[in-house]
Structures are given as C-alpha cells and as structure tokens.
Amino acid sequence: MKLSSSACSIARIPSLFASLCRPICSTSLSLSPSSLKPTTPLFLRPPTFSTSLSELNKWHHWAKNLASSVGSSFVHLDNGPDSTLLCRELRWLLEDSLEDHSLISQLGSQNYHMDVRLRASLDELYVLWRQRIEERRPFQYIVGCEHWRDLVLSVQEGVLIPRPETELIVDLVKDVVLDSRELKEGLWADLGTGSGAIAIGIGRILWSQGRVIATDLSPVAVAVATYNVLRYDLKDMIEVRKGSWFEPLKDVEGKLAGVVSNPPYIPSDDISRLQAEVGQHEPRLALDGGVSGMDDLLHLSNGAVSMLKPGGFFVFETNGEKQCQFLVDYMENNNPGKFCNVNIVSDFAGIQRFVTGFINDKCH
C-alpha cells in the first residue's frame, strides 16, 4: 500500500485529550470550526509514551475483565457487542497502541520490567477502554480509524464509520468499469462521502485519467475525507466539495460517468432504537432519511437522470428489501424509459441492499 508521506504532515499533534473532553455531538454541524482539524488515528501517532510490561499487563487484565463482565447484556439490550467481540477489539486496540506488536503475545510473561513504547499514555488507555464499555463509544472512534476493504480510514466523531456492507459498492463499480473504457476514464461522484471511503475505493480502481468528486454537507466529513484522500496520495484524482447532494456539481451536469451514494436511509422513528454505538455517537445527519427513510434516495435517483451522461452507471445503498423495491418502482414510474438494467443486489448477509443501473442509451 502506498501512502503519501507528505500526507502525514497535515496530521495535527494528537488532540486525543481535547476530543475526550469535548462533549460528543449528535450532529456534525454543531461542531465548532476549530475542531475541524482531523484527529490523527492512534496507530499513526508517534510512540512517545512508555510504561513497563507489568503495568501494561495490569491494564490488559483490567480491560479484559471489564469486557467479560458485559457478557451478552448489550446483545439483549440493543443488539450491541458481546464480550467475544469486545475482547477482539481489545486486541486491536493493543495493536494500534503498541510500537512493537510482538509484545502482544508476551503479555503475561515473566519479563516484567521490560520497557514498552506506547502511542497513547497508559492513563489514556484506561480512559478509552472505560469509554468503550461504559459509554458505548464506538471502537473505531476510540482508535480513530476503521479498516475497510484494503484501506485504513481515519474516522472521528461527526463522521459515519464506514460499514462492511458498503465495501460491495466498490466491487459493483469494479465490475462495470472492467468492460468499459469510458467508465474507467470517466468522472464519478460519491455523494455524502463521509470518511471518503467509497470515493477512495473507486479512485484506486479507475485509470489515471479517471476522476472522482466527493461531496458532503458536513464540514467534519469534508475535513476527514480530505485527510484520507491525502493519506492515500489521491489528491490529483479525488476532489472533495462541500454542499448538499448535487448542488456543488452544477458544473458537471450531464457529464458524470457514474454516481454512487450511501445516503442516510434510516426512518426517523427508528433512530431512537438503534444500538448505542450508532444512535448515541454517530451523526444523525448521516443516518436519518426522513419519515420513510427514503427522502434522500428519491432525491438522488431523480438527480441522477440529469447528472449522468447516457450510459452512465449508478449504485445506491438502501435500508433493505422494502426500500430497494420501492426505489426500483419509483424510478420506472417517475422517469419512465430513462433508466435501464435496473437491478437489486444483495449484501453478503443476503439482504437486498443496493439498487444499480444505467442511464438509457448505451444498453439497447
């Protein structure tokens, strides 16, 4: 994986403690402009802290017990994580905190006075793990990153953590660009880009002439997506623009080869019942799709007609079977003859998740 070294220089001094003290905001828009400096993910911070193996061991023991005490209570409460998953997360936290990963297997060994280099102080690690368990702060916000496809993306409060389901959008795009030079070299748009996940995934499969414009209304998302684009050395290929859906794209109307989006699609009434990690910590702007959850999907499907060029391709992620079928019907009825090869694609759990298709012309 090639990461730009200059990209790391835009990383600010770790402001972990600042972010800990800051109240967790439910909408990204309420963040003050000064917090728009993206936080450096834990694994990229310098290993400037040290402790002894025995102190680390103590922490690990404590953290494991805390995780075990959860049992399956979160599962029953709101379908949250069980202790098996929490213990796996604990190992990943260690991986991201330790300069030397091989120490993980030595935890509990005799070598007690050995010095251990850490990327966060032991006190921070206590605070962080307590937040994970007691406040249900998402693991990905704790370590400041999410592993998604073959990428490691920076994330923080105010930006949606990219989901495993969404990884498939990049594969769907890969499948269509494979047989079309026009799509491979074309201009793509990722609307509501969040961390920039889909845009970066696509940027890495297009040919060098290809371009992606990633848009988001949230200033935090724009800042984090920009940071991630720089880290993957794609700034010549991906442009991040701030604004609502197609608004920042007026200059490319009718010129897009592809439009992809994972817009907010959860019905407003369901938001209060989400698992705590999502409902209490992720931005509502990224989740709430209005009464039926379809406000943004309908807006996007209408816009796609004029924004895409003939033969252009689209993928939209939805809440499941009901929304997929509604969207397909809506497209056929509202813009008859405009789309073709409209398909519903299931995710890996077998849930109908995506609607894909082309703008008519190319498919005869």
Binding site: R149, E167, Y265, T318, V345, F348
Partner: protein, 246 residues
Amino acid sequence: MSMATQLAWKSNSLLRFASKSISRSTSNGCIVAHYSRSFFCNNTNMTTITSMRPEFQLCCFTHSAASNIIGSKYLELTDEELMKQCVMDTFKASGPGGQHRNKRESAVRLKHIPTGIISQAVEDRSQHKNRASALRRLRTLLAVRVRNTLDLDAYSPPPELLQILPPKSTFRGSDCGPQIGPNNPKFILGMQALLDLVFAVEGSISDAAKFLGLSTGALSRLILSDDSLRMAVNELRTSKGLKPLK
C-alpha cells in the same frame, strides 16, 4: 453402498447441483450473480470458529474423467474465477444491518460450490481482508482435499511439482528455476501434485521418493516444511496404519 460409491454419489450430486446454480447465475446476465443470497444463513455460532486449522477428510473428491474439471484445475483459476465458483456469506444476518449497526462482524465464509468445501476467516479487521484470507485458505483446502487419480505406470512428475522439490532431485532439470518454498503462492499447486502421488502410493514416502528422484529423507524434510502438507500426509499414513512423520 460401499464407502467409495457413496462418496462418488455425493460428489456427483454436488457437481450437478453446482452446474445448475452456476448456469442460473450466468444465464440471466446479471453481473453480480455470485454475490447473491447464500444458502446457509442460520447455522453457525461464531464462537466455534476460532481455530482455522483445516480439518482433513480423506479422498473427499476423487475426480474421475467423467467430471469436466479436474481437481488441480481449481488451483489454476485466478482469485476472481475461483470466487465465482463460491457463495460467500457473513455469519450474522440478524437485524437490518447497514447503517443500523456498528460493525459486529466482518467475518467471511466461502463455500466452494463444485466441491462443497467451506473456508472461513474471522480475525481480520475488514471484510475485504477476511475474504482474501478465506480465499487463500480455500486454495490450501482444495490442494489438500481434492485428489486426482494418477497412472503410476506412466508417471512422471509434473512441472509444478518439480518446482517445489529440492535441487538434489535427479529429475529436476536446470530449466526448473530455484526451489519454491511454502510462502510462494505457487507452492500449493506443487503440494497438490505431491499429495496426489503420496495418495497413489498409499502413504509410502520411500515409494513416492523414488518417483521423484529423491532420497526418503529429503522428501520427508520437504513434507515436514509445511503444516498443511505434513498434516495431510500424516492423516493418510495414520489411516493406513503407518507411523506419522515427525
């Protein structure tokens, strides 16, 4: 029904089933057919899948001339081609998923339809990486479990097998290039060919060594150099009442 007939019947019906489902997915022209709904959403409990040690079944699938793909051919497929022969699912389909959930699982399970072999990976942090790990494991499992029948009278070691042999082998010409070790992805092809031979000689290392122009000791060392290979050979030897290699 004898054991062998049962196995033949089982693999046959699996193959028929496979060809049906594959043709269904290609005939409707849908580019994403292989991502479609999986057949087994409800049965696996994550906690039972922590160890990824492959289990060995002996001679699960002996490919006869009647089947159109011979066993070693699976390993020659690209990742994408092999993936098309698989259905993939994640372990949990509880709830609506997507934006509703903080990632619970990025675990991946692949079922290779033509053989029924299942391979899985849970330990990576992204689904993409778990898929790659599962695919790598599938290749090992295919090498270990799919046997091609050999005609020992006309046997000469195929090039992919010569590549993994130590230079001392008298059959190894200078055109073979340097010896390929277990970390090279091509090792698996040679491993499958080697297992075909060891099975054909019913687990006798000294017999197999003769066919390869090696000393018994040199072949033992090669077999012991890779865990999957060693385990497969020892499983066979135990079943034949021979002592396992150490």
